[in-house]
């Protein structure tokens, strides 16, 4: 395992930011930490990046104890956040050269131009002062700073915060591309469900300092929404007349649409095939829950069960 977190605890005064979280991240995996503001995402990243000492628990990166060997760990990891700044009066080249010297990178310029080419920044951009960079350009330069450094592990702590939707989408697509190329191990934190779903292979939902659920996006969806709905209508307005033991129920809406409810899983495709074989269909769709719906339902359920326990007590 590339990253191991066991029973990690951290408090700030009376506030318990992390209440014994545990997770593992495999080499080359993109792991998402999803949670609302104040859930403990940044605290986790800061501990892993040696910027914060935990109260209890074990954190290891490539077998190195983060608390005992912070310098060695810093040689392996890097952090990118939306709040990262550069020296505004220096050019892109000057900024990257400075950080490359600190990180012992010799061929920084060729790497910078190569990655810049990939991210859509050219020499004329690099010759501009950072004061003239847009937020999106600055984030691209931040990514270049990391790529030039070539750490095998990267923590992306809400990297698209503050970016407009278009820049955010572009940045995500660049990130995805880069992550696939570089095969880095990544921990990605966000409260934006859409980008976590788009980028991460596995997700942990963090709420009030606790991991409440872990799995790949599909697993999480199936766990929270075990049913799928297939919605369609036949062109001739006829009803659905098929038998399938996996179908729970069939409803017809006022506007003539047929809704088929069944367990999530491979059977969904079989049922769709049967529906298509049965007649001429228009507008068929399988309603997949979004991660946002999963998150909201999951946190609602958690709160409800907490309230139930409280009222019972």
């Amino acid at each position: 395992m590339e990253i191991v977190v066991e029973c990690l605890e951290k408090s700030f005064g009376d506030t318990q930011a992390l209440k014994g979280i545990s997770f593992e991240v495999d080499k080359g995996e993109i792991f998402g930490l999803l949670g609302p503001n104040g859930a403990g995402k940044t605290t986790t990243v800061k501990i892993l990046a040696t910027m914060l000492l935990p109260d209890n628990g074990l954190t290891k990166i490539r077998g190195l104890d983060v608390v005992r060997y912070p310098k060695k760990v810093r040689d392996l990891v890097d952090v990118i956040t939306a709040r990262d700044k550069f020296y505004r009066r220096l050019t892109g080249y000057q900024n990257i050269r400075f950080f490359s010297r600190l990180y012992k990178v010799d061929d920084w310029r060729s790497k910078m131009e190569e990655y810049g080419d990939h991210l859509g920044l050219d020499e004329s951009d690099f010759e501009k002062r950072l004061a003239d960079y847009s937020t999106g350009m600055r984030q691209k330069l931040n990514l270049i700073r990391n790529m030039v450094r070539e750490t095998p592990i990267l923590f992306l702590d809400e990297p698209t915060l503050g970016l407009d939707p278009v820049s955010s989408r572009k940045f995500r697509s660049l990130l995805k591309d880069v992550m696939e190329r570089e095969k880095k191990t990544v921990i990605f934190t966000s409260h934006n469900m859409f980008e976590v779903e788009e980028l991460c292979e596995r997700i942990a939902i963090l709420k009030d300092g606790q991991i409440t659920m872990t799995g790949d996006p599909k697993e999480l969806k199936d766990k929270i929404f075990p049913k799928r709905m297939i919605e369609f209508s036949y062109r001739d307005g006829s009803d659905l007349d098929i038998q399938d033991p996996y179908i729970d129920s069939i409803k017809k809406t006022r506007d003539g649409k047929i809704q088929v409810f069944l367990e999530a899983g491979d059977r969904v495709h079989d049922v769709v095939r049967k529906i298509l074989d049965h007649g001429r269909v228009s507008n068929i769709s399988v309603k997949e829950p979004t991660l946002e719906e999963v998150f909201i339902k999951h946190t609602d359920e958690e709160e409800r069960s907490e309230n139930e326990v409280t009222s019972w007590m």
């Binding site: 700030f12 914060l52 009066r89 002062r129």
Partner: protein
């Protein structure tokens, strides 16, 4: 960490800082002009006072005050650069990327102090040249007196580290230290002899190493030698200051790491 790598990092800071200074052209000119104006004002003041009568100061008041402000400025720039280093990076938001280098934080802090030292050297020679060539104030700068000046600079660096550490935890503390440091001008004999201070204040003067730095520089320039006692005070203050500085920096960083105050992004 090897010496070569450390020199590499110092070089990175030097280049960054000079590029940054150069990027503000007017500021760069002001940085060069300020010490010249400063020394000119005091040289003229000294001359005027000297014309009014003998104050009983060796070499005259003009020499006295010019040596005072040259030495003071040299020490001050080094002191503030080392103490401001972490706080400044935190303030502008670049600290995280500096912190992520695989070395102790002391490396970038000392590199910033050395970068500030280059400004001290430049300003020192500017002031010295203007005093000698423009105002004809003979300062008799010798190699030993220059070495003594370096020693004086080193003697305050440790205290700069103290402030660098404390400022990480208590952001506003910098203002308190700035007031304290500037009050040293009053106690250490920058503008007037310590002997002219009230008796109680003279005890405070004796407890501040900068008083000995100024005394050593003046003796060196007037008599061509540096009192051994002043050298010893500088060495002892430097060693004690460095020990206190390193311990304070270490403890403050540890506390900041625990409380999450190191990097508030």
């Amino acid at each position: 960490m090897d010496v070569k790598q450390y020199l590499h990092i110092i070089w990175a800071f030097l280049v960054r800082d000079w590029q940054r200074r150069w990027s503000y052209k007017l500021n760069f000119v002001a940085m060069l002009m300020y010490p010249i104006v400063w020394v000119s004002v005091f040289a003229l003041l000294g001359r005027t006072v000297d014309e009014g009568g003998d104050m009983g100061l060796e070499g005259g008041f003009a020499t006295y005050i010019v040596v005072g402000i040259i030495t003071w400025r040299f020490i001050r720039v080094g002191f503030f650069d080392s103490s401001w280093s972490i706080r400044w990076e935190q303030h502008i938001g670049t600290f995280k990327n500096i912190y992520m280098i695989p070395h102790h934080l002391l490396v970038p802090v000392s590199a910033t102090a050395l970068s500030g030292f280059t400004v001290s050297i430049l300003n020192f020679f500017e002031m010295w040249l203007v005093a000698e060539l423009v105002f004809g104030i003979s300062l008799n700068l010798t190699f030993p007196s220059f070495l003594f000046l370096l020693l004086a600079w080193m003697s305050v660096i440790g205290f700069g580290f103290v402030i660098a550490g404390v400022a990480v935890l208590y952001k506003e503390i910098q203002a308190v230290f700035t007031v304290i440091f500037f009050s040293f001008q009053f106690f250490c004999g920058v503008f007037f002899p310590v002997s002219s201070l009230p008796r109680a204040a003279q005890y405070i003067s004796r407890a501040i190493p900068i008083t000995y730095a100024l005394n050593g520089m003046r003796t060196s320039m007037n008599h061509g030698y540096i009192p051994t006692s002043d050298v010893l005070v500088m060495i002892v203050a430097g060693v004690i200051g460095m020990i206190i500085g390193l311990i304070t920096l270490h403890l403050c960083l540890k506390k900041a790491l625990k409380e999450g105050k190191l990097e508030r992004y």
